[in-house]
């Protein structure tokens, strides 16, 4: 059998180059494949994910949070949530885990060119959007970019270095809000939808990219619809339990679609054809 076939489920070892502690719950792992030739040839697109293997913990799908423009390493930003991610959080620089992928349909990057962009994220939801934002900025996106990011508390704000860098760009407006203030916080308090209410947007010229908890998604979708956004201009990425990631095991099914293959990126227009929990109140 050709070796490519045998490797359908076989991951490749990757070494942790650096661990960035984003907050108490989220760490970004900077990874490079141990096989230098494979690492050189590795490429992906924003919105795609990797299956991460940790010894004795099986596999879990994790969104890529880095931009493919920066070659040589890939970033996975991981929130402590279950057995595998807990084990990852105990790993350090020099430790080896394993990856297979990239998998999934990426964000439609070509359709973002020449449009204003609105990014709305909550918590770890900024991870896949970070890949898009940094790709747009690296490839010279000229139109305006609005980034709205909600966190629980000021100390939960992740990706601080990115947020700061984005805020310094002329065409980027980067606004943060928290559910609960802490001493020293003089920023906004409340839901991202409150920030969204104060934004000047041109719905017919804007693509909106969302990722965050279902409650946030529903609230933002409601407001975008009120402001005249078309369903095909609203794009999000779905999270599902996955085992194979190649369209066979069916754990990630959403009606006749499979999130690993038909997604994880969907437009609202596509999601409305399906019975999706995140859209139901």
């Amino acid at each position: 059998m050709p070796s490519q076939l045998l490797e359908l489920y076989l991951p490749k070892a990757a070494e942790i180059q650096e661990v960035i502690e984003e907050n108490s719950q989220i760490k970004t792992f900077v990874l490079a494949f141990v096989d230098p030739e494979y690492n050189d040839g590795f490429s992906y697109e924003p919105g795609q994910f990797l299956m991460v293997s940790v010894p004795h913990c099986g596999e879990a799908p994790i969104s890529i949070s880095s931009t493919p423009v920066n070659r040589g390493t890939v970033h996975l930003s991981v929130r402590r949530a279950g057995k595998l991610t807990e084990a990852m959080h105990d790993m350090h620089k020099g430790d080896v885990l394993a990856l297979r992928g990239p998998y999934g349909r990426p964000f439609p990057m070509a359709s973002l060119v020449g449009r204003d962009l609105l990014f709305v994220a909550g918590g770890i939801g900024l991870a896949p959007l970070r890949s898009v934002i940094n790709t747009c900025l690296a490839t010279g996106h000229e139109r305006s970019i609005t980034i709205l990011y909600g966190s629980r508390t000021p100390s939960d704000i992740a990706f601080k270095a990115d947020l700061q860098a984005w805020g310094q760009r002329d065409n980027v407006s980067c606004q943060l809000t928290v559910d609960r203030a802490e001493p020293g916080w003089d920023g906004a308090v409340g839901l991202v939808t409150a920030l969204l209410g104060h934004c000047t947007l041109a719905p017919h010229e804007t693509k909106a990219l969302l990722c965050g908890p279902p409650m946030m998604i529903r609230a933002v979708l409601g407001q975008l619809a009120d402001r005249g956004f078309a369903d095909q201009d609203i794009i999000t990425t779905m999270e599902r339990h996955m085992k194979c990631a190649v369209g066979i095991c069916r754990h990630c099914h959403m009606d006749d679609k499979l999130v690993c293959k038909d997604g994880p990126v969907f437009t609202l227009e596509e999601l409305k054809q399906l019975n999706v929990m995140e859209l139901q109140g």
Partner: protein, 348 residues
């Protein structure tokens, strides 16, 4: 396909003996408890190949085992994590006495395991095998392949297909390998006479009239597509389903699986693939206890929608093959036939 042959029943055993020299043989065998199961046969003289009863299992496990090791993993130090593939030792196999439902299920599994990606374990087992089918002259009590339209007779997918004509089998082939087998073992085959072909057609007509269950599958498919299944049907089904997974395990077209690590020592283990069932509450459960599907209420609904709605939408045919095995196994009274009856006739 115009050529048809006759294999006398007296010649079956010697014919299988010849093929067994190059192939592992799997056929329905009645064991000492009286159960008929597809079984690997070591010694043809010591078993009773049972072509009168429906095998309780399908061919599923031979191509997609209930548990199989995908590879081993090794983690001798924090900076060393590597994998070793496991050689698949399965030999070329002759599957004998495969009924149209199980043949159709195998063709469906080909789509699942080979269309989106080529599953190496499945592909290896699917290559180099011979499929010898058997048309059903006598549908069993819970059969409804007439409603799923893949039986009681089938005319594609097999290498050789047999029809029982009393003291002889009429033999057809679909693939060139079937033709090769006939030419290689020509001494066992005679050309079929016109009367044999007529007898086969007569057997087909009679078989069609012998189904005891009337299952309005088309109507259920239509109701699902038009979203006309009453909520009370789903409520009753989810209340009565005992969550045992028996229907999914016995079903020849239920192919959902899970993958997990099976530690062997502190540093080593196996990555194992095992059958799963979409009716289980953990099927879509994510880390942090998020579940995008209310499995308690919706698990069994997802199962029927997959088979009778989503697969119809995608491939234009349901993925139920009418074998009736779930009817035999379900003690909660929530098998697919009862679902269809509840949906179409309002009775249980």
């Amino acid at each position: 396909m115009t050529e048809k042959y006759i294999l006398k029943k007296d010649h079956l055993q010697p014919f299988l003996r010849k093929l067994k020299k190059s192939h592992q043989l799997v056929a329905p065998v009645q064991n000492r408890h009286g159960d008929t199961l597809f079984t690997e046969i070591d010694n043809l003289d010591k078993v009773h190949i049972d072509l009168d009863n429906q095998p309780q299992n399908s061919l599923k496990r031979f191509f997609f085992p209930q548990q199989e090791v995908l590879f081993t993993y090794h983690n001798p130090a924090r900076d060393s994590y590597y994998f070793e593939t496991v050689a698949d030792e399965s030999a070329p196999t002759l599957y004998f006495g495969v009924r149209p439902c199980d043949m159709s299920a195998l063709l469906y599994m080909d789509v699942v395991f080979l269309k989106n990606a080529r599953d190496p374990n499945y592909l290896h087992k699917r290559q180099n095998n011979i499929l010898v089918g058997l048309n059903c002259n006598e549908p069993f009590a819970n059969c409804f392949c007439n409603a799923t339209r893949n039986g009681p007779f089938i005319d594609f997918g097999f290498d050789l297909q047999l029809t029982d004509l009393g003291d002889r089998f009429l033999v057809e082939y679909d693939r060139s390998r079937g033709q090769e087998i006939i030419s290689s073992w020509r001494q066992f085959f005679a050309e079929a006479a016109e009367s044999d072909v007529k007898a086969q057609y007569q057997a087909f007509l009679e078989a069609r009239g012998k189904f005891r269950l009337q299952v309005h599958l088309d109507q259920a498919v239509k109701k699902l597509a038009e979203d006309e299944v009453p909520e009370s049907v789903w409520e009753e089904l989810s209340m009565r389903c005992q969550d045992c997974g028996g229907c999914a395990y016995i079903c020849p077209t239920c192919t959902c699986f899970t993958i997990r690590d099976q530690p062997i020592s502190d540093s080593d283990g196996e990555r194992v693939r095992a059958w799963d069932a979409c009716t289980f509450s953990g099927f879509t459960l994510m880390a942090g206890d998020h579940n995008p599907v209310d499995r308690q209420m919706r698990g069994i609904e997802k199962r029927f929608r997959h088979k009778l709605q989503f697969d119809v939408k995608k491939d234009n045919r349901p993925s139920c093959v009418g074998c009736g095995r779930c009817v035999n196994i379900c003690f909660g009274g929530t098998d697919i036939v009862r679902f269809i009856n509840m949906t179409c006739c309002g009775n249980i």
